[in-house]
Amino acid sequence: MSERAARPGDRRLRLSRLLAMARKESLHLLRDPRSLGMAFALPALMVLAFGWVISFDIRYIPMAVYDEDRTAASRALADAFTASTYFRVVGHLERYGDAEQLIDRNAVRLVLVIPPRFAARLAGGGPAPVQALVDGGDANTAIFAMTYARGIVAAYSARALLGVRRAPPGVTAETRVWYNEALKSSHMIVPGLLAVVMMIIAAMLTSLTVAREWERGTMEQLASTPVHPVEVIVGKLLPYLAIGMVDVLVVGFIGDAVFRVPFRGSIVYFLGASFLFLLGTLSLGILVSAAMRSQMLAVQITMVVTFLPSFLLSGFMFDIVNMPKVLQIISLVVPARYFITLVRGIMLKGVGPDVLWPYGLGMFLYGAVGLLLAVRAFRKEIA
């Protein structure tokens, strides 16, 4: 830094000072190689863990059968459950009371009860009731199990009736899934996860940078130098932007190489949107950091403002339409929500700016407003 830069009253922005700030922050990062390593490893780990472990496709639900009829017809019904591959019959019960025990121990999720005279009623043309006892604890799996069971029974019923009296063929629903033909869970997860990972990593990286300077007492030193707040903030942001962009590529690469998630849209548009999203999120981290002054507080706040909303209120896992109105309104200010729609649109649907421009504009606003707020908060704190 030349003596000219140190002259008081020189409040113009200088690239050299900005770059010096960026270099200082990079040195900080390089001196702590373990944190740096984790900044790259954590996104990779998250994508692999989510992609491999989580499956929305529920199959082979363990079930038991309590067959009081013991006829060919009742056995055929039980077999229809196994044949569907949605269920796996793990036991045949002798007593009705055993059902409760099995469900208590999580050994089965569903017990099919076929009452006596089932075959006779079916053949007689009357209604033949059967019962399904479902473990309602996990509502999601329970709904799947009930839906599948209804479908299996309805199909069985149609076949059985066909034998009894001539029924004309009815309507068949032909389903085609778009954008994700095989309904692969990883294809749904990876684009959404990109947003969540970015949100967490970016905010985590910057949320401590300013608070650390406060805690160590170097903030006063920084404030007494002629460096401009914009130079401090942008200088601090630059190295993290670089890390964040590498993380985007890491996640994208794993999605492509490991999970074969299609990439149907424009890479340029994708990278541009990711850059703006990163900029906004990194600024958010700095904002928290400048306001909190303590790393412990900054950590807790960051988790509340980034981790939770981007995980739960962004439509990543849970559809926003199914939430109560208040939360739907809150979700409107969750940036990850727009970024996820954008990334899914680009990667899976292959749509371009003509469809996604409102989201692109949103990302731009997020980045710009975030940066402005961070500079303002910082200026206020050192003043």
């Binding site: 009736l161 412990m296 509340v304």
Partner: protein, 398 residues
């Protein structure tokens, strides 16, 4: 850190000064003093106090209200190219179910494409021309269902519902002799959900939030408390004081345990009183399991603090530990749906056992006979992890 300094002075006056290095008895007075210092440090900042109890409540609220896996009102786009009374009946049958809500109707196949591309609809129903005629002629009619496969779970479920409704309708439309509802022939499945008759996902998720919060608090408070002192340089001051490592450990771990217990009580009360989650089982069993689980969380936090030299590193390591734990623990997605390898791996995850325990106690009222395995696993893992962390911690500060 004036407290720490002052404390060093107290020790210097006492007779146990020579015992400062190694040997000497564990002193309750010194450990208590250390605990008091830590608690004072935690509660000194009103913001920190709010953060210890605010976010857990917030999380509970969000999980109670937002995490809704019940599928209703799937946005549906209708393309009725047939325009007959029969095709209209099919559409009515879908909308009457509450599972679908019609957000638009179109004339041309392009309209469906547009609606799905823009994300205005999740599902498109295409009824081709000649639908009614095909059905009447007995050849069988087809309906095309287009599902947006990008949005999580709902595609799967919605697809199942469409199939079901169409099948039911088909029986009504096709079977000329169908006599209303009561005496319809065929197998009639009556499903009954136990423990949670309304199938609210809230009942399943809210007790689990308790597990998540306890883990988060135990981990973050413990690891940050030690690492902060190391980063600021006050850890050395503590070490040259007559405080023994074990007393230091007690001082650093007991406050997070207390905060975690307080959070657990808070979360459990709100779950029961506000969300009306049934509490059917034994409080004693819940307390025993929770205690072991808290020890595991604090142990993991202490372990992280032995490895991290800066708070940033501690924070990131915490996430490194937490993400796989949450995913494998079956917090949002049941362990039973995971690939078999990960189901085995999840046996090493204390959160998995704790969630099974909590859900079993709350929802099913299951007792020790059904949950002894989970309790045993926690009883081994909790104290075991803490013991391992304590020995590691000893090594790093000596």
């Amino acid at each position: 850190m004036p407290e720490a300094r002052g404390h060093g002075g107290t020790g210097a006056r006492g007779p146990d000064r020579t015992a400062a290095g190694n040997g000497g008895a564990f002193s309750f007075a010194r450990a208590a003093e250390m605990v008091r210092k830590e608690l004072r440090q935690l509660f000194r900042d009103p913001m920190m106090v709010r953060l210890m109890f605010g976010p857990p409540l917030l999380q509970l609220m969000v999980f109670g209200y937002a995490v809704n896996t019940d599928i209703r009102d799937t946005r549906t786009f209708i393309l009725d190219q047939d325009r007959t009374a029969v095709s209209r009946r099919l559409v009515e049958g879908l909308t009457a179910s509450n599972y679908f809500v019609v957000v638009g109707r179109g004339e041309r196949p392009d309209d469906v494409t547009q609606a799905l591309d823009h994300g205005r609809a999740t599902i498109g129903i295409d009824i081709p021309q000649g639908f009614a005629a095909d059905l009447a002629s007995g050849r069988g009619a087809r309906v095309q269902v287009l599902v947006d496969g990008t949005s999580a779970n709902s595609a799967n479920v919605a697809q199942g519902y469409v199939g079901l409704i169409v099948q039911r309708l088909s029986q009504n439309l096709g079977g000329a002799g169908a006599q209303g509802h009561g005496g319809a022939p065929g197998v009639d499945l009556r499903a009954r959900a136990w423990f949670n008759p309304d199938l609210k996902s809230r009942v399943y998720n809210v007790p689990a939030v308790a597990g998540l919060i306890v883990m988060l608090m135990g981990l973050s408070l413990t690891s940050m408390a030690v690492v902060r002192e190391r980063e600021i340089g006050t850890l050395e001051q503590l070490m040259v004081s007559p405080l023994k490592p074990i007393e230091l450990i007690v001082g650093k771990t007991l406050p997070p345990v207390l905060v975690a217990v307080a959070d657990l009580c808070l979360v459990a009360s709100v779950a029961i009183l506000w969300f009306h989650v049934p509490m059917r089982g034994s409080v004693l069993l819940l307390a025993a399991g929770s205690m072991c689980f808290i020890l595991a969380a604090v142990g993991a936090g202490l372990l992280i603090s032995t490895m991290a030299s800066t708070q940033q590193e501690a924070f990131m390591s915490m996430f490194f530990f937490m993400m796989p734990t949450i995913i494998l623990g079956g917090f949002m997605f049941p362990v039973a749906n995971m690939p078999v390898f990960f189901q085995w791996l999840s046996l090493l995850d204390p959160l998995r056992h704790y969630l099974e325990l909590v859900r079993g106690i709350f929802l099913k009222g299951a007792g020790l006979d059904a949950l002894w395995k989970q309790l045993a696993a926690l009883a081994v893992m909790g104290p075991g992890l803490l013991w391992f962390a304590v020995t590691r911690f000893h090594k790093t500060i000596e």
